[in-house]
């Protein structure tokens, strides 16, 4: 296994190495890449100059006529320039670049196979200086080689493979395998015929939304032969990832994104590259990520911690459904029972902690008892507080608690969707509320539950829908709550007192502290009103510094006599990152929480759920009770 993957790494590297390495390693004869490599050995010099900072020689051979389809794709390539955009200037550019080369690289030593063989593969693609040296080595008869390049022209044709993001979500991994084979064989053909290969991926919606460019231009392209260092890197990473996916599917393994990154750090360079490539491929092929046999790193980590045996069974099991099961990090707690496909029953009404949400494919049926709502919670800590204390049972509507631990994974969202479709014991559908931080990420998480991931294009509506809960309501923490809880603590009691449900909940929750608070609150209201009056008449308030001391200390006293939640100290200033995130969310046309986002930006504060402190249960009581009344009315 180990040696396999090593060889694999080398194979992919050889794709990159085409441009820089004349050294041949021994590969399986039938391997596409190594075959290419052999071809390359014969044409050793034709590709060499690509390594230098000069544009690809392939540009020279590029026909000036472009297929009309190609033009719009330039849009979202991460590279600054695509070869096509530079074509008209190529000859001039190339000459100047070449001249520069000549002057900067005087009399290099002759190139030996030995030398190059010693170059570590990793440095070739990643390290500019290494490649420079290499070219230096081969500079001896560069001119003649270039000349050769110029006359030897590729055919004008190019092979194009497009993955248009059509919905293939129900197809098995074999479909993906076929698609990958397609690319590899096309690559082979193209290499043999010295043509160009263009692989186009339809860019998924998230990228489209974040891109400020024309939304019509929504293809991500990978071109062989690549034209610059960045393109080489990109293409190599793309091919490597396809190879790994194929390997994962063939051997029935599951890779995490992190695994993939570590398979070849020098090619992928960063985790982000892997993440976005995986997303792109999954969206362009129109399959869920798990069909690629890739799961998120977090998920796997949790499973590792949670159930070692289970993980092993996932990894070794030849069952596709087992792969699906790997994606579980969400927690649920509530008065419901899960009937799994394997016949086991999970009772979620266990004291202490919630249960791990199994994959939707493993759930046969959900049996909801006397619950009226689902409370979707962002934070695990908050979830645990409510679950362990059993407070959720006393909340109005006995909500089922659901926690995705930050951004929810697929299983959690699908589970939410199942609940959305399920009626409770009384034959009613459940109401959905979310309790998230009052910050851009919290609102983003809320949106994610509500509308599904942005990963899937609009025409993959089904895919999005099976992971969304359109009736989800943003319960809190809200902008209004902050002003409410920070400045008008007295008013907070009123809705609860008026609520018919309130007495009931108070009965259950009667504690010394609770009644204490009420007493103080009432006092506070009084003094608040008085102060307000004074302020209105302009008496007493006023004041230059010395005189002000008395009323201020008095005020501080009645303020401090209140609960911690009334203290604005729980508020945090927005960071630059928060502001950027909020602006990005506004820019992608967020309508759900745009007002909240703007208010957040203007006011400049964010708050975490924890701002409520020990008021959390009471806050939820009030909020949920109010929602119930709202629904009744």
């Amino acid at each position: 296994m180990d040696s396999d993957s090593e060889a694999d790494a080398d194979e992919t590297f050889s794709v990159i190495d085409l441009y820089e390495d004349t050294h041949v390693q021994i590969f399986d004869e039938d391997d596409a890449v190594s075959e290419y490599f052999q071809w390359y050995e014969e044409n050793i010099f034709s590709a060499l100059p690509t390594n230098a900072e000069t544009p690809s020689p392939s540009k020279l051979r590029e026909p000036p006529i472009l297929p009309a389809v190609m033009t719009p794709e330039i849009a979202y390539t991460t590279t600054a320039e695509t070869p096509r955009t530079t074509i008209p200037q190529v000859p001039a550019k190339y000459t100047t670049a070449y001249q520069a080369d000549e002057t900067t690289w005087p009399a290099p030593p002759a190139l030996t196979t030995q030398d190059i063989g010693e170059l570590p593969h990793a440095t070739i693609s990643a390290n500019a200086t290494a490649t420079e040296d290499l070219v230096q080595d081969t500079d001896l008869d560069l001119l003649s080689r270039l000349h050769k390049l110029l006359i030897e022209s590729r055919t004008d044709e190019e092979a194009t493979i497009s993955w248009d993001g059509a919905d293939n979500s129900s197809r098995p991994p074999a479909f993906v395998l076929g698609k990958i084979e397609e690319v590899f064989s096309a690559l082979l053909d193209v290499i043999a015929a010295k043509r160009r290969l263009v692989v186009r991926l339809s860019v998924h919606e998230r990228k489209k939304l974040y891109s400020r460019r024309d939304p019509g231009l929504s293809w991500s392209t990978f071109v062989y032969p690549p034209s610059c260092q960045r393109d080489i890197q990109r293409f190599a990473a793309f091919i490597k990832l396809l190879r790994l996916i194929a390997e994962a599917i063939e051997t029935n393994q599951i890779y995490t994104k992190r695994d993939i990154y570590y398979k070849d750090i020098s090619v992928f360079r960063s985790q982000q590259v892997v993440n976005s490539l995986v997303d792109d491929i999954s969206a362009a092929l129109g399959v869920p990520r798990r069909t690629l046999h890739i799961v998120s790193s977090k998920t796997a980590a949790f499973i590792l911690r949670g159930d070692m045996l289970y993980l092993r069974s996932c990894l070794t099991h030849a069952n596709y459904d087992a792969c699906k099961t790997a994606a579980a990090k969400g927690l649920a707690c509530g008065d419901l029972k899960l009937y799994k496909t394997d016949g086991s029953i999970i009772n979620c009404c266990v004291e202490g902690e919630g249960i791990l949400i199994p994959a939707s494919s493993d759930i046969e049926k959900v049996d909801i008892a006397d619950c009226e709502s689902v409370l979707v919670i962002e934070k695990e800590a908050v979830f645990r507080t409510l679950a362990e204390s059993g407070d959720w049972k006393r909340l109005p509507g006995r909500p089922i608690l659901l926690c995705g631990k930050g951004y929810p994974d697929i299983a959690t969202r699908e589970f939410a969707r199942i609940l959305y479709h399920t009626k409770n014991a009384r034959g009613c559908f459940l109401a959905f509320y979310s309790l998230v931080d009052y910050d851009p990420h919290g609102l983003d998480i809320y949106t994610m539950y509500r509308t599904g991931s942005l990963l899937f294009a609009p025409h993959m509506k089904l895919q999005r829908e099976i992971m969304s809960v359109p009736t989800l309501q943003h319960l809190g923490v809200k902008f209004a709550d902050i002003s409410h809880y920070c400045f008008n603590p007295g008013e907070r009691k009123e809705p609860c007192a008026q609520a018919p449900v309130a007495p009931q909940s108070q009965n259950i929750n009667t504690t010394a502290s609770n009644s204490d608070e009420q007493g103080i609150s009432a006092d506070g209201d009084h003094s608040n009103a008085e102060l307000g009056k004074q302020a209105d008449t302009g008496d007493g308030e006023i004041q230059s510094e010395p005189r002000s001391k008395k009323p201020r200390t008095a005020r501080r006293q009645w303020q401090s006599s209140r609960q911690a939640a009334t203290d604005s100290q729980g508020l945090l200033l927005l960071t630059a990152h928060d502001r950027a995130k909020a602006t990005a969310m506004l820019q992608r046309g967020e309508t759900e929480c745009a007002a909240d986002l703007r208010n957040m930006l203007v006011v400049g504060y964010k708050a975490e759920i924890e701002i409520l402190g020990d008021q959390l249960v009471r806050y939820l009581e009030e909020k949920l009770a109010r929602q119930q009344i709202g629904l009744a009315a």
Partner: protein
């Protein structure tokens, strides 16, 4: 001694969302909100009808509007970081300050009385002074502060002095003629949301989350006195034309008018409890010092006739 104010007119549904920005000239009351349009209501007409709308001014909404006292020019800043200059005589867009957000997104803006000078503050604490009479606009000064979000800026009416207030409580006064920092005021720890030069540029009023309005002497940089009374974050400060009165608005929905002479609060307005993001005195028409506030709605307050001016 107190002032009596009446709610003269309220425009409830001026914008679809909360109103963050306000600019008042003798002709128009400009308001900007979460929606893309900037609306111009009449300032003079007692019914304050809508006179004009700048459609699609800022796609993501507008958070600041500054107008010149002469009423000829307005500048607006949007959530997307863009800044637009408006010609209020011909009611048309003029040009954009495109380079303002080059390093650090622009947040607060302010104009000098004649509208020729504009000051901007950015997310990373850069304060810049622009000459808007040039095309394209010319950057005259750039002041670096401690890389802390500049929440508010102001220019003195002659444009010679600049002030900025920052998220960490820092307040700086700059001399635009020399390009130097004249005073650095520290000690206000909490975010500073409003700085305002008095009409004669002798005093600087500073308000913010510390809930006190601090008045500084611009020449010496010394604190002269405090105005105490707000129980919430102070969002905006406006001087009356004569400099005798100060209007402040706060997050808890209260708007207060202060007399500088007696250093006291002369009236408190607002019962809604909803944040009042901006307040401004209206250009003086009659004897009273009229006000307009924006937040959830646009509200005009008229000073009750017969009341004695303090």
């Amino acid at each position: 001694m107190s002032k009596q104010y009446l709610t003269a007119h309220t425009i409830d549904n001026a914008h679809e969302s909360a109103i963050y920005a306000l600019g008042v000239t003798a002709e128009y009351t400009l308001t900007g909100s979460g929606s893309s349009a900037i609306k111009l209501h009449s300032t003079r007409d007692p019914t304050h009808p809508l006179l004009h709308t700048f459609d699609d001014a800022h796609k993501l909404g507008c958070h600041h509007i500054a107008v010149s006292k002469t009423g000829k020019r307005a500048v607006s800043a949007g959530f997307d970081g863009r800044m637009k200059i408006w010609d209020l005589e011909n009611l048309e867009p003029n040009q954009e300050i495109t380079s303002a957000s080059k390093d650090g997104k622009t947040w607060p803006i302010s104009l000098s009385a004649d509208g020729s000078r504009c000051i901007t503050g950015s997310h990373n604490g850069r304060v810049k002074v622009w000459d808007l009479d040039k095309t394209p606009v010319l950057q005259l000064r750039e002041y670096e502060t401690k890389n802390v979000f500049a929440m508010c800026v102001d220019l003195s009416s002659d444009g010679k002095l600049a002030a900025s207030g920052h998220e960490n409580g820092g307040v700086y006064i700059f001399n635009n003629e020399t390009g130097r920092m004249a005073h650095s005021i520290t000690g206000l720890i909490k975010p500073v949301r409003a700085v305002a030069f008095s009409p004669a540029s002798k005093l600087l009023a500073v308000g913010g989350d510390f809930q006190v309005i601090a008045i500084y002497d611009v020449r010496s940089g010394e604190q002269v006195f405090n105005l105490v009374g707000h129980t919430s974050w102070v969002f905006s400060i406006s001087w009356s034309e004569t400099g005798h009165f100060l209007a402040t608005s706060a997050f808890d929905g209260k708007t207060k008018v202060w007399s500088i002479e007696s250093r006291s609060c002369v009236t408190t307005l607002g019962e809604s409890g909803k944040p009042v993001f901006q307040v401004s005195f209206l250009p003086k028409l009659g004897s009273g010092e009229d006000l307009v506030t924006v937040g959830s709605s646009i509200t005009y307050y008229r000073e009750a006739s017969g009341a004695q001016n303090g």
